[in-house]
Symmetry: C4
Subunit: 344 residues, 4 copies
């Protein structure tokens, strides 16, 4: 594993990604699919809004609400700030935090500090992050373990992103033979491992391919929110080329339902375009254990932990209203709620 | 039951609700669903338009047409005027009138006069109104009976509105254990009791929950007309936040069909977005005994009884044309008419 | 049958109808439904465009093409001109002509001349026209026979139009007991009788009601073209009130398919929004014997017979192209062609 | 076969066609239908983008990618330039080239040179082109063979275009009895023969009609790309008349699926509106052996071979990305991929 100084090219690209995420229309045109479903409104809910119970457990840790802050890399300059604000928010809300890709940190030790947020979130569920394609570039159990232990994380998320990498100049586009590698590697690792996409979605076929590989959870990270294909294309050309590729992916609701059916017992994270408490409620009713969101937290994270907390409090309040008016006082009741097709 | 002077806050809020209802876009974007159905046009109807018979009975009283003026509170200052105009219109048209919530009147006796409209509508079916959530705040048979008898009403409508209350600052958001309370209370009451929503709809599940509780009728009060979530949100923030919550609810046609299937014998009121005679005809063909509308009558009611009468006469004329051209000379024939799906 | 001088009110109204038909948006928003079907394109049609055969017979007379000019009244002043141009065009094209309502002519003999167009169309199929509601106003076999014989017509079309009459000030809105009257009357009449709507459509139920009554053909006159409800509403108010009533009706394609299924042997005219040769081809493939169109011919008819001929030649050329490219060399082959649902 | 000097009328028309194709909105409004299908995104594709294998064989010749340049005539003045640039591009990319109609060349020998592009594409699959309607004008095996041998083509495409010809002033609209002629003629010809439309699509019925006639492949040339009806109408009137005829045709995806089902063993070309690598990938997954595109290459072909190569390289890169992210490393794997309906 070489360790050259943090090259200006990688640094520049990461910065550009942030700018693109903040200022370009990188959301999918296509929708998450949640809008096709209806949480049944129950005019006599038999519940008390002030006592809706959002508590749950995920990857062995208690959460005050079924919510993770989604993985976001920040570029060396701002990563430390972003990660700290996100960690403080996670701690205050009692929710989980997925960090952005730690590859930069493994390859450029000077970047390590920006990932070390455990001190700001002593009790939060903290999840590290690496790209699965790195397994074809020499990464193995040692590197993954180092990534987790250096930041005192509770778990590791491996992201798989063939479309993003294909559209990135010099992206890692060799995804060959990763499935057997994962089957061999994951059981070896001394911490829970999660598989996630970055916004184009996991399918039932992918779920089936990793069945038995030992993943602790899958994050479907479907289409309908941030399109990482769009981020790469805007970063590369300053305009949207190949718009059809940029809209490719499995809408989050379809990804969730598909993977849930393929692996009924696997804990699932619903992410990709989760924006409101009603989205979250529908995802949880469809069988997700927790939901995650990323890009909507980017601007708040650049500002302050309070801004992140405020944003998420609104979403959690909406989730409580949604559960209350659906007659679900806790997450177990919500999970039993049957969604209806939305018509008018 | 405490009785403080009519606080400026409650008064202010009610006023604000009126302003919002008059001047803000508080109608649902989503539709009632009536537009998905087609009243079958019958080119040889075998009927005479001048002899279409709209007479019916509801809650034991005869009505000249299957129509109720919907429940509207008016704020102390204007309630008296509004209620009087509505009562005079009901009397002249021979239709029913549902009054707005009487909570203010029970808690602030000086508001009583504004509800006492029996003298303007000596024969009309007059229906009182209270929120079901008050049953968790100390209200019981005594209060409900007092509400009805103080205004010489024929019946009482209990409104259930968990979404509205959840969005209202200081709203009554405790809806726990109301179903058993209703089962115990309603049979005790010496007048017919109706259960209604305020525009987000009753579902088959709610209908099933109150089966056998002794309700004389259910008013589905579905989505597609006035969104009380929007009213509360505009009143609170001056803008539309949480738009998804504001659009939540069961479209009136779906609510009607669902509740009709769940409780085939229960008399039903169709309300929420009923705007035209064709809407009314479809609702009656779907199994409603009567229809009701509220917000479209607010501006006329501030003006005069004549304005209310004129508005409703137009709707009733449309209803007669619709029945005539569907070959239904009376409401029994209309109830036997099978609607078609609307396609082009 | 009284015969007062042609009152200025009736005259004025008819004039107004013409103005409205020419200058107001009286077409339905809803479509005919033909756009939901696809005539199968056949890249190897085995036919010769120059030899497509449009000849047919209708009501016992040969037609050079399966086309009727639709019924249009013109108001005393312009009826003579319009009817003459239409008759000359029918003669030149070898097609049929349905005249507008002859009620004015029966009640005001001075209007007779404007209907006497046989001299301009010695061989054309000529069809008289009266409203079925007149049967409740004293009309019987004698009046109907007089209407036909005074103008040397080959047949009579009875129009039934409950929605139009309902929206017309002073309209004839008594349609009671017409079905038995028709069953008694039609078999008595010594000429073929056709039943038609005026643009809101005949349904299977109406077809079933007149089964066995002796009609020689039914003209479904469905929704999707001229809305006579709109014509009446614009004529009455200068603006579109009651828009839902104005859009009521059975789309022409649905009316045609429905009536065809109800009465498989009954000759059918498809009208209401037939605008192009492809519309005509689809209608003929769905089982119509002939198609008719009215309002698109109004402006040409005010101009000249040539203008009418030119308009209809374009439509007939399109029909021939459509038949050619569907591989149907004649109308029998077209009638055997199965339409497909249109998707993209 | 007469051979008058290249008449200014034919020449002028061809030029006009080019101008119309370049500057008028001749694309269908209706879509190819590919947008109704979804290539399944596979987040763990097990493939390496740099090793995606596009090689295939078609009509007995190897191709570096499953792609043909579509048939385009160019008018005498520019045909030579266009054909040369296209041929050079085909040679460089290792793909096939379908030339435009050779009728002009057979009837006006001075036009021959512009078709003789073998020297620019010594190894490319080169396909000649004639209209099937010429078989009713005296063309037979001799003329077809001459067309192929004069330009050293590997195969001949016969285009059938009844709608285009019907809309063209003086078009060849006699398509009678061509099916038996083709059954007699094609087996006689000493080179592979392909049947194609020009953008309105082949149907299962047409496929069935030519089953057993000896065609080496069918090019469905469906609707959704260039509408040759529009090209003719703009060329004739300068505006779009008969818009419904201009939109007639079988969307390419439907044509492909229909013909594939009718003739499961027949090699198929998918063309008509193929614009992106994802379109191509879907067509290949639906069972096409190769795809073709025409009009998007017209402007580049007027410029240079490089411009054509650049355009097609982009499409091939998109195709490789699509295959990679669908987990299909080669065309056999892509052909086994099952498409999903696209929903959100
Ligand atoms: C600025 C930014 C940086 C991201 N970086 C990473 C990353 O390093 N690793 C990863 O797995 N996902 C990364 N993501 C993807 C998100 O975790 C998430 O899957 C995706 O944005 C879809 O969720 P959203 O619609 O809520 O944004 C990033 C997203 C954003 C907006
Ligand atoms: C100004 C106003 C005040 C209302 N007040 C009450 C009320 O006090 N009690 C109640 O049950 N519903 C109340 N409603 C709700 C209506 O009765 C009705 O259910 C709802 O507005 C949907 O019907 P619409 O679409 O015809 O307006 C009120 C509605 C309006 C517009
Ligand atoms: C100006 C005008 C006058 C009409 N007058 C009559 C009439 O007298 N009798 C009748 O049966 N239909 C009458 N119609 C209706 C047409 O015959 C036809 O049914 C209707 O317009 C729908 O066809 P379209 O969409 O082709 O216009 C009239 C239509 C027009 C436009
Ligand atoms: C300028 C131009 C000329 C064409 N000439 C011919 C021709 O001579 N013979 C033929 O079979 N098709 C011809 N075509 C039709 C194309 O081969 C193709 O079938 C059609 O354009 C649809 O494909 P596209 O949507 O990719 O353009 C021509 C197309 C264009 C744009």
């Amino acid at each position: 594993m070489s360790s050259p100084p943090l090259g200006p090219r990688l640094e520049a690209r990461k910065l550009k990604h942030l700018e693109v995420c903040l200022h370009y229309p990188v959301e999918f045109e296509r929708t998450t699919g949640f809008e096709r479903f209806e949480l049944p409104y129950r005019a006599l809910p038999e519940s008390d809004l002030s006592r809706i119970d959002l508590r749950t457990r995920f990857l062995g840790k208690p959460l005050a609400a079924p919510l993770l802050i989604g993985a976001m890399t920040g570029g060396a300059a701002r990563a430390a700030l972003i990660n700290r604000h996100l960690a403080e928010a996670a701690q205050r809300l009692g929710i989980g935090l997925m960090l952005g890709s730690q590859r930069v940190m493994l390859e450029h030790p000077e970047a390590l500090a920006s990932f070390q947020v455990r001190r700001y979130a002593p009790e939060a569920l903290l999840i590290g992050n690496l790209g699965v394609a790195q397994l074809n570039k020499g990464y193995g159990a040692a590197e993954l373990t180092r990534a987790v232990s250096l930041i005192q994380a509770d778990a590791l998320a491996l992201h798989t992103n063939p479309l993003q990498e294909a559209l990135q100049p010099g992206g890692d586009a060799d995804f060959s033979a990763l499935v057997p590698k994962l089957h061999a590697l994951v059981p070896e690792l001394p911490f829970p491992v999660l598989l996630k996409e970055v916004g184009h979605g996991l399918s039932p076929a992918v779920a089936a391919a990793v069945e038995g590989a030992g993943f602790a959870a899958l994050d479907v990270a479907g289409a309908g929110g941030t399109s990482w294909a769009k981020v790469e294309l805007y970063a590369r050309y300053g305009e949207l080329r190949h718009p059809e590729l940029a809209e490719w992916g499995i809408p989050t609701a379809d990804a969730l339902l598909g993977v849930r059916r393929a692996l009924p017992e696997m804990p699932l994270v619903a992410s990709g375009g989760v924006r409101t408490g009603l989205d979250a409620a529908k995802a949880l009713a469809m069988g997700a254990q927790v939901v995650a969101l990323a890009r909507p937290l980017l601007a708040p994270a650049l500002e302050s932990a309070e801004a992140v907390v405020a944003h998420l409090k609104t979403l959690l309040w909406e989730l409580r209203v949604a559960m209350h008016c659906a007659g679900a006082s806790d997450l177990a009741a919500l999970a039993r709620t049957e969604l209806l097709p939305r018509r008018a």
